[in-house]
């Protein structure tokens, strides 16, 4: 199954465009992680079955567990790269000159 990419323009009162884009980007990340989690659960199940059927040291089990490992690594990378900070802060760090990032001294 292929990852689903879509930009959702959700009108929120007073929200700036930057927040919308960041929020929908985050939604994509969240959605992707859910998909990976489902895949991991399915892969673990399959690997356990192969282990039982062919033996723990069998090649079939090794291949199946390798899939689990690959998916788990990918999930942890997604989590590591996920911007936990406020999306607006992340945006302003990258482009401090943007309108949304103006600060006022009064």
């Amino acid at each position: 199954m292929v990852g689903f990419v879509n930009t959702i323009a959700t009108p929120v009162q007073g929200a700036k465009r930057a927040s919308c884009a960041s929020a929908s980007r985050r939604m994509v990340v969240v959605y992707n992680k859910e998909m990976i989690r489902d895949k991991i659960a399915a892969a673990v199940k399959e690997a356990s079955e192969k282990s039982d059927k062919f033996g723990k040291q069998s090649q079939e089990a090794a291949v199946a567990w390798d899939v689990v490992e690959e998916l788990s690594a990918e999930l942890s990378h997604e989590k590591a790269n996920d911007p936990k900070a406020d999306p607006l802060d992340v945006y302003c760090e990258e482009s401090p000159e943007a309108d949304e990032c103006r600060t006022y001294e009064d």
């Binding site: 292929v2 990852g3 989690r37 390798d66 690959e70 790269n81």
Partner: protein
């Protein structure tokens, strides 16, 4: 009805396409064939004409691409540019420096590479293959010959050399080193599929990371410097438990079974690369805490080969002497369990090496500075650079122990290697 949607990116711009489930299920090979044509429609039309001449002209790119010699199987779209890339002149690159990083934790060794990027004063982009103004990081999984389903059918793990196209890896890394751009395949870790290739241009520093950077002899020759990250079993288990147990679907048995079944292939194919690495970073359980289960305190050994051209090993006090050093005491107050260093010559797989060993961790700034001031040949450009770099990424794992310390030192060594090879000087970031 389930729909699969995807975006095909690349030099022809993005195109969105949808395929319904029936299309997907009908015939896998047809799906692959159709998918590889979608999004590169114009390309394939030109390609069929170009196949005759052997030259593929990119619509928006100015480099002329030629199909790679080892573009076989699922990599038929892989290509190498015919002449030196325009990027070389545009970026003022003399000669790309190629560094190999070997480890078993999937691509995106984000902390280490982030530290490397910081030392070079550059940024790592978030793309699949980060290509910044200075640094490009290539994940070697992109050279998998099979996609996930293919590996299942063939009965091989990703660790198996049979699952990796070393010919293409060699050809494209060589091309990058010579200053040519390549169209490198993409292995999508989420879907487990091989996506259409992307353009990778040469850069000042190209890091290839993955399971097999030092495996193939020819690729090994291309590397200017190589590092192997060697995790002890107990540490590996502890880290994987930390990583996976929070997720549903994982049990302790599953994690242990996964590691166990991975061992044969790992021992046969990955582990032997240790012998060929310039530097090996070993991460072991601590000796400071008896019966430590948490593995939060670690011992890190930096095993440095002698006789690497231009590489000056890190050591404590006096090169070639054996030393054990516990900095905590009257001058320096440390929190439990403190920190213990060792330094000295040793042999590793019949080769003479210099080893620096750091067990434990440090809590405070003054501890780090104190330690740094007693290490020799760290390749810093100013006093306190190591500490500064550790503080920069203070929330990253390893910032308070040997892993972070030695990662920073490795990054400094990589900078030194770069400067020695190119004759250029990198201005250190002062903040």
């Amino acid at each position: 009805m389930e729909q699969a949607a995807f975006v095909c990116g690349g030099v022809f711009g993005a195109r969105r396409s949808t395929l319904s489930t029936s299309d997907v299920v009908s015939s896998r090979s047809a799906f692959v064939a159709r998918r590889s044509n979608v999004g590169v429609g114009k390309f394939s039309f030109q390609a069929s004409q170009a196949k005759r001449s052997g030259v593929i002209v990119m619509a928006t790119e100015t480099d002329t691409m030629v199909k790679a010699d080892s573009a076989t199987g699922m990599h038929t779209a892989a290509a190498v540019s015919a002449e030196i890339s325009k990027a070389m002149a545009a970026k003022g690159i003399d000669r790309p420096v190629i560094i190999g990083v070997a480890a078993d934790s999937g691509c995106g060794k984000s902390t280490f590479l982030r530290r490397v990027a910081d030392i070079f004063g550059t940024k790592l982009t978030k793309a699949h293959t980060p290509q910044g103004e200075f640094l490009t990081v290539i994940c070697l999984d992109d050279f998998h010959t099979h996609d996930r389903m293919g590996r299942r059918e063939a009965g091989v793990t990703a660790l198996d050399p049979a699952a990796n196209n070393f010919d293409l890896m060699y050809e494209q890394v060589k091309a990058l080193k010579e200053g040519k751009s390549v169209m490198k395949p993409i292995y999508n870790h989420e879907t487990g599929e091989i996506d259409p290739p992307e353009l990778v241009e040469p850069n000042h520093l190209v890091v290839i990371e993955g399971l097999h950077p030092i495996y193939d002899e020819r690729v090994r020759e291309l590397l200017d410097f190589s590092v192997y990250l060697d995790l002890a079993d107990e540490v590996k288990i502890a880290w994987k438990i930390q990583r996976d147990m929070a997720e549903r679907g994982h049990t302790l048995e599953a994690i242990l079974a996964s590691i166990e079944s991975r061992k044969p292939d790992f021992a046969a194919y990955i582990d032997p690369q240790k012998k060929h690495a310039d530097v090996v970073m070993e991460i072991l359980p601590t000796e400071l805490i008896p019966d430590d289960d948490e593995k939060k305190v670690l011992r890190v050994r930096l095993i440095q080969n002698e006789g690497i051209e231009g590489y000056e090993p890190v050591f404590l006090f006096d090169e070639g002497s054996t030393m054990e050093w516990i900095p905590c005491g009257k001058k320096l107050a440390c929190s439990y369990p403190g920190i213990k260093f060792r330094s000295g010559p040793d042999t590793y797989y019949d080769k003479s090496v210099d080893v620096v060993d750091c067990d434990g961790g440090f809590e405070k700034l003054d501890e780090m500075i104190y330690v740094e001031s007693h290490m020799n040949n760290t390749s810093t450009k100013f006093y306190g650079e190591v500490t500064q770099q550790l503080l920069k990424n203070s929330s990253a794992p390893g910032s308070k122990n040997g892993t972070g310390l030695f990662q920073v030192i490795m990054a400094l060594k990589m900078r030194e290697a770069y400067e020695r090879i190119t004759g250029r000087s990198i201005t250190p970031a002062l903040s």
